[in-house]
Symmetry: C2
Subunit: 352 residues, 2 copies
């Protein structure tokens, strides 16, 4: 865990705080915090907080609607990953004093549309005047204690799934950081949805689950570090990556692996189920808005092993890529260059 600078930074915060005896999860081990509820035996309160500011500062989102949409979805996605039923969302919105009213209006519409698409409501919030835009969402929900899903619990031989194809977050990120015109990957195409229905169905079924908000490979890397086992994944981009994202890769000559290895994800769930439960899963998944995609298997060895078409097996080390945002110190040109160098060394191009 300590090879990842973000984990170390989180631990520095965690160390400052004493732990509640009512808390059901350990640090890092669930997408949302889980608390025993006196007065509601058998239920856990799930709560999570998430700030959208860096993405705006970096220029990934310029449409206020996207900013609002992602703020709501980011926290609802954490509820999905633990299998919780949302009670609602509270939002703290900080925007510059005297800003265009269209900014506030657009952020509000984005939040509301995201919530409404999932039958969730904004309960209230706070607003502040600050030099830069910063939006914080906090979602709260309930989950039955004996069916709660965490990031820990997978076993060797479990099947690894995504709730849907990924890569839209990194396509948007790369298009914007690379200075490509909006039409190469329109911001309005990035409307990732929290997988609440899937999370509900995965209660008592998934052996581990985490959302892909930090990118698919960073998510799998974190699950690997938490569980001590890795994944074997047939390297078939057309299964793993969204079709519009693959088209973007073709059009711009971008290697497909970057869509999974980059840090700007979306809100699919990466989850594991015992092999014997796979058939059961395909039955319950009938109601999901997306088809779950089986992408691999849990292996004993703590490594992410991509199996290429040639039969070659490539262990990919995500640590230097995950740490690069810190290493590069906000220099996106350097970030992109070193990111490409690190991933190119994996020699996955034969597949793309």
């Amino acid at each position: 865990m300590d090879d990842i600078t973000e984990n170390v930074a989180i631990d520095a915060w965690v160390k400052a705080f004493s732990r509640s005896r009512a808390q059901a999860n350990a640090p890092h081990e669930a997408d949302a915090e889980l608390i025993e509820l006196s007065g509601a035996p058998g239920q856990l309160l799930a709560i999570t907080i998430d700030t959208v500011a860096e993405e705006i500062e970096a220029g990934l989102y310029s449409d206020p609607y996207t900013m609002g949409w992602v703020t709501a979805m980011a926290s609802l996605s954490d509820l999905a990953a633990v299998g919780a039923e949302p009670l609602g969302v509270v939002v703290s919105a900080s925007v510059p004093a005297g800003c265009d009213p269209a900014l506030v209006e657009g952020i509000g519409r984005g939040i509301e549309d995201a919530c409404r698409s999932l039958g969730v409501h904004v309960l209230g919030g706070d607003s502040n005047a600050t030099p830069a835009i910063s939006l914080t969402g906090c979602a709260v929900g309930l989950v039955p204690e004996d069916e709660v899903i965490t990031r820990r619990g997978l076993a060797v031989g479990d099947a690894l799934f995504l709730t849907g194809p990924c890569g839209t977050g990194n396509a948007l990120g790369l298009a914007r950081l690379g200075g490509l015109p909006n039409e190469f990957y329109p911001e309005a195409r990035y409307r990732p949805s929290a997988r609440l229905a899937a999370g509900r169905n995965l209660r008592g079924r998934a052996t581990a689950c985490m959302d892909t908000s930090d990118g698919v490979l960073a998510t799998l890397d974190q699950l690997m570090r938490l569980n001590g086992h890795g994944f074997e994944i047939p390297c078939d981009w057309s299964r793993l990556i969204d079709a519009s994202v693959l088209a973007f890769c073709d059009e711009t000559g971008t290697p497909a692996w970057m869509m999974l290895a980059g840090p700007h994800g979306e809100f699919e769930l990466a989850f594991t189920v015992a092999a014997c439960d796979e058939e059961d899963l395909s039955l319950v998944a009938g109601d999901w808005p997306t088809r779950p995609i089986r992408i691999g298997t849990v292996q004993e060895r703590p490594a992410i092993t991509l199996v290429l078409g040639s039969g070659r097996r490539a262990d990919i080390d995500m640590a230097p890529l995950r740490n690069l945002l810190d290493t590069a110190g906000g220099d996106f040109t350097r970030y992109l260059r070193e990111f490409k160098e690190l991933g190119s060394a994996w020699k996955l191009d034969e597949q793309s």
Copy 2:
């Protein structure tokens, strides 16, 4: 309500969002949002979110410990005002990339000490790198549905109380904005505490309650607007204002009324009880860390009426003072000048 620009700004946000049928409070009417809990009949979930950024930007807090302390207390105080029992706090901390580790450490200690002083725990959070410091706390708790306290419900003749003397927030604010050296009002003296024990005891007793985080007179002004009735308050600064704050006023020649009329408050509760319940209140208040102070009475007429020593009665109009932060557009010199002009017209000096 619409005479106050902040209320109008909040309504603009509220209008953007559809309302949950499970929500027990209307907009503006409670310090925390109140949600029915399926699975816990008779209990409401209380949740609130609050960002500390403007105060840091304006230079009110320069010690990271204060920033953390206030972040935790601000959201816990909202739980106190509805009578809720905290389940915990989640925090989103945004600090500049590569900042002095002492900043993170100080913020963390401030949050932890504030929580620990009230037997509450931090459950988790989020951290981000942003150009300016911004700290968001979200507190969550439970309150029995039939005893919940809101800002509405007071009746003519009810007794008006504070949980303790006020003014520390405005003393700090004025000392910092006025450029006074720290020793005139040391930042470390500003350690306001959420009145959770009082809030618990006021369940089923208080007819209305709101914390003084926006200053005492703004709080009373808001309670007046929400309830349609005002307050008659004998103008005795030594009952209303903290002794250290009165000493600061003496030393610096600052009019005492500014300590109640300014916008930077603390976390006492302003609450009303039916006159017949006053004796009962003095019994339960034995366990509070402060003595409740009876400061006035609810009057029919929607006005805040200060009764001076001379017997003169002064109706004070808080609307222009509450709106001044917007009117002055971040120009603190102008703000302070116009603030003094507006309040001086009340001619309360004979009392100070």
